[in-house]
Symmetry: C2
Subunit: 186 residues, 2 copies
């Protein structure tokens, strides 16, 4: 990733940056269940983020990584492939393709656990990066907005958890059906 | 559940309540990854909760319920069985047994989605209930503490998501192995 120190808040107000900032804020106001961020509040969240670009083909989050967990990002433009090696143990399996509006790496920033999957840019991407330090600063300086942002993140993690749980139930049924087939064929 | 209007904050300071309140606060300070609640802060969280008791054998959260999602609870004493009917479609399967310190129903309070499993008391339980309204009041009145509490909840949801993801990977491998067995037996 480019190492830019400017964040959205300090960036020069050239039209490109303004548009990107507005775009980031709009993506953050996407319906959350509880105490949704207003556009004004989402812009304050974005002011704690740093705009960044990653070229196509770069694996910027590596599955199992425990060191590089201090940031999350909001994807503004482009596509990211999420892959996991652990499913087959031999080759990575694509588990998702993410587009604009997706949050990436938010679990690592919350619980500092190892990265659960690898993320590789399928195209050049534009994104907004939030570091753990910036999140802590937002919570200290703008705690109500911090709460709303955390609610939005939690709701997305909960949604993903529900999806995974559904898949798990399907697999459990599949395994049970296959076991019956195997028993029959013996 | 008993319909008590008193919350921990307003409850008369009889020793029993103090002890229960202290106990609840201690359970909330259990290590979270980021910006952990201090005991003093956890007591403020607890002051937004309402002590409650549920007798053994009561299903107080029903899988799929979309109406009764406006509360979560911290289990203080006793055990709760988590069951899901969706795994087998015919009879409920126990997916977890929860003890003191467990948070129950926190996803529903965050995203207002349907309850993902049923919860039944295995013993008489004591718990501390946090309603969505109380959570919103805490965020408005004590936003920094609200943020820390939300971080703690998010970290727990993230942890559970990671667990489910691991199980999903195991099932995916199991299904793949079974498919090979089935192919061989044809």
């Amino acid at each position: 990733m480019n190492d830019q120190d400017d964040n959205f808040g300090n960036a020069e107000p050239v039209p490109r940056e303004i548009s990107s900032r507005e775009h980031a804020a709009r993506l953050l106001t996407a319906p959350a269940a509880l105490m949704q961020l207003s556009l004004v509040e989402a812009k304050i969240v974005v002011s704690y983020m740093r705009p960044d670009r990653v070229p196509a083909g770069e694996t910027f989050i590596a599955e199992g990584d425990t060191d590089n967990t201090g940031f999350m990002m909001l994807l503004l433009d482009g596509e990211v492939i999420v892959e996991s090696i652990t499913v087959s143990r031999t080759h990575p399996v694509t588990t998702a393709v993410l587009g604009p509006g997706s949050l990436i790496g938010e679990m690592g920033i919350l619980d500092t656990g190892p990265r659960s999957a690898s993320c590789t840019t399928a195209t050049d991407i534009q994104c907004a990066v939030l570091t753990r330090e910036a999140l802590e600063a937002m919570i200290a300086e703008q705690p109500v907005i911090g709460c709303k942002f955390l609610l939005a993140i939690s709701a997305r993690i909960a949604e993903r958890y529900r999806d995974t749980q559904k898949k798990l139930k399907l697999f459990a049924r599949l395994a049970s059906t296959m076991q019956q087939e195997l028993d029959k064929s013996k």
